[in-house]
């Protein structure tokens, strides 16, 4: 079981409030990603759950029990650190076994569990190597092995893939997701990479300046962002924001439309503009269009377009895909 509930959790370092009143309900077995720009408090929130930091206020419940005063090891969680934090002078076996050894398990049981964890992660040939003799991806797997061997209630991942190169990151992303589904253990994963967030998560928590902006499934966030921040943060390239008045909707403060929902239309249809840059990626073409009073707009066209800088284009938004926001930045639903 690994049901984690945050109730009014606050954290401040001196006068600085890092986390302001976080409320969250993480279901057992789900994969939850904390995402946000750097300095938004996502790592702090994870460390609060882990017990590596003390909360300033509020409650953290694991399976219904308040663990605010429980030391990290007793919370039944295990953590994968950004730097992996492997013990450098211990072999892979020693690293994975350390938690079990500290828990005072008998030797044969430790060996059995370590072998099993190593087999799951394809680490068996490396069990007697030192961390420095391993590649980045292997170290990452040792760190994960150290986490799974304790059979925790939940895994906590602190930007675990940020030190890997791009290709390996995609592969590990897949492996971590598969492993989590296979084990069925709750996982909380911190990242600043929205692609990681969208691909791995069952549910995403978008954090900004210590506040939870929205909590929902990846598609919910994409299709129904709760506010301007989430709308701008999720999706790449960023959503276009145009002033409502200029777009002919005086009732709303800001109108949002994603680049992929701006059709490059025929002459005289939609918003006119001038192409300032065209990025040809083969599969897609991104157009950066100067649309006068509407500001700069980004549009995505599928396939190859012969448009180039200086050309005139007309962009028509799909009406059903328009997002409307009020003066405070909150989404307005029809």
């Amino acid at each position: 079981m690994g049901q984690i509930t945050l109730q009014g959790v606050r954290k401040s370092f001196g006068p600085v409030n890092i986390i302001k009143d976080a409320n969250l309900d993480i279901e057992n077995g789900s994969f939850v990603v904390f995402v946000g720009p750097s300095g938004c408090g996502k790592t702090t929130l994870l460390r609060l759950i882990a017990g590596l930091e003390d909360v300033t206020g509020g409650q953290i419940l694991i399976d219904g029990k308040n663990v605010v005063d429980v030391p990290p090891a007793k919370r039944g969680l295990s953590m994968v650190f950004q730097s992996y934090a492997l013990y450098p002078h211990m072999s892979v076996r020693g690293n994975i076994a350390f938690g079990l050894k500290m828990a005072g398990l008998p030797r044969p049981e430790i060996d059995r569990k370590v072998e099993a964890a190593a087999a799951t992660l394809n680490l068996t040939p490396y069990l007697d190597r030192k961390p420095r003799e391993l590649s980045g991806g292997q170290r990452q797997r040792v760190a994960i092995g150290r986490a799974i061997v304790r059979e925790p209630k939940a895994f906590l991942f602190d930007e675990p893939l940020s030190n890997l190169d791009a290709a390996l990151r995609v592969q590990m992303r897949l492996e971590v997701t598969k492993l989590q589904k296979q084990l069925g253990t709750t996982a909380i994963y911190v990242t600043h990479d929205q692609v990681e967030a969208m691909t791995m998560a069952d549910k995403i928590v978008v954090l900004n300046a210590g506040r939870i902006e929205q909590y929902g499934s990846p598609l919910e966030l994409y299709e129904r962002p709760a506010n301007l921040f989430v709308a701008g943060f999720i999706g790449s390239p960023k959503m276009n924001f145009v002033p409502g008045e200029a777009a002919g909707e005086p009732g709303v403060a800001t109108l949002g439309i994603r680049p992929e929902h701006l059709k490059i239309g025929k002459e005289g249809e939609g918003w006119p503009g001038t192409v300032s840059v065209a990025e040809h990626l083969g599969r897609d073409t991104f157009l950066y269009v100067d649309a006068g009073t509407l500001g700069m707009l980004t549009a995505r066209g599928v396939g190859e377009f012969s448009l180039k800088a200086g050309d005139r284009v007309w962009l028509s938004p799909e009406p059903a895909r328009l997002h409307r926001f009020d003066k405070e930045g909150a989404a307005v639903r029809a």
Binding site: L52, A73, M79, A85, Y87, R146
Partner: protein
């Protein structure tokens, strides 16, 4: 850029320094070797003559030599043990967040800046003096008989003085090593349920293996040649109880005025230092490999 030209220039610029260092080393060494083969007493300097290896035979068979060798090893070993066994907990303490940490650190480092002769005098006259010393005063306060350090436990007294001087060095090296320990590793151990003691044994001590090796190697080099503390406090005595190799050579040369014999002793000391270094590197040197 390592072009031909810069290499030549680099060597040309280095040459004077290297040459000077080389002469500085080779001249005394050759002279020592030369003197070690002479019967050359300052009391009768005119009557010097070549005696071959006679000086070495005399020095090595002198019962004072074995005593001095034993004293040297006991001194080095004890001071190493004290500085590391006390330096580690001290470094751990100084690594904690305490009020006035910078002042405390400065105080801890202070003994290292005191000249050996001065600290030896302070210890001899103000602390360990059997009548007017601080330790004697404390002893009488609690009703015990004051210890006459330099008569009853002279070698121990010297060891304490030297250890006091070298403790800051060990503490400082170990402290910097502790500060370079990865914080996330300690947190990982905390998540793994390791107690403070287990974290120390399984993470901190292995992390300190290399700096401890450095402390042992560097301290050994200096401790083999301890002289001022002995000269100021006990003068090698009573008897030969605090005479180490360095002091023995001094006494051959400037108490007995036997330059030939002292030179032979000096060369023996060089060999002993090399033997000690050889064993040290065999025992602890592998910690230095990356």
């Amino acid at each position: 850029m390592a072009t031909q030209q810069t290499q030549v220039l680099g060597r040309a610029l280095l040459t004077p320094a290297v040459a000077l260092l080389f002469i500085w080393m080779i001249v005394p060494l050759v002279m020592t070797i030369y003197f070690s083969t002479l019967h050359y007493s300052l009391l009768d300097a005119e009557a010097w003559r070549f005696v071959g290896l006679e000086n070495f035979r005399y020095f090595l068979t002198d019962p004072a030599f074995l005593t001095a060798l034993r004293n040297t090893l006991v001194l080095v070993g004890s001071v190493l043990a004290i500085t590391i066994l006390l330096g580690t907990p001290l470094a751990l303490l100084l690594d904690q967040q305490v009020v006035g940490r910078s002042i405390v650190r400065l105080m801890v480092i202070a003994p290292f800046f005191v000249m050996p002769t001065v600290s030896a005098l302070v210890w001899k006259n103000l602390l360990m003096h059997p009548v007017s010393g601080l330790f004697a005063w404390i002893a009488t306060l609690v009703g015990a008989t004051p210890i006459d350090w330099f008569n009853d436990a002279p070698l121990l007294a010297v060891i304490l003085i030297v250890a006091w001087q070298w403790l800051p060095f060990a503490t400082l090296i170990l402290l910097t090593a502790l500060q370079s320990q990865d914080e996330e590793q300690k947190e990982a151990a905390e998540m793994d349920g390791a107690s403070a003691l287990s974290t120390f044994i399984y993470l901190t001590l292995p992390h300190l293996a290399r700096p401890i090796t450095v402390v042992i190697l560097i301290e050994t080099i200096f401790l083999l040649t301890v002289f001022a503390e002995i000269f100021v406090t006990t003068g090698g005595g009573p008897g030969l109880q605090t005479t180490n190799i360095a002091f023995l050579i001094y006494s051959q040369a400037l108490i007995q005025y036997d330059v030939g014999n002292a030179s032979a002793g000096g060369l023996v000391a060089v060999v002993i230092a090399n033997i000690v270094a050889f064993f040290l590197v065999r025992i602890v040197g592998r910690n230095l490999e990356a």
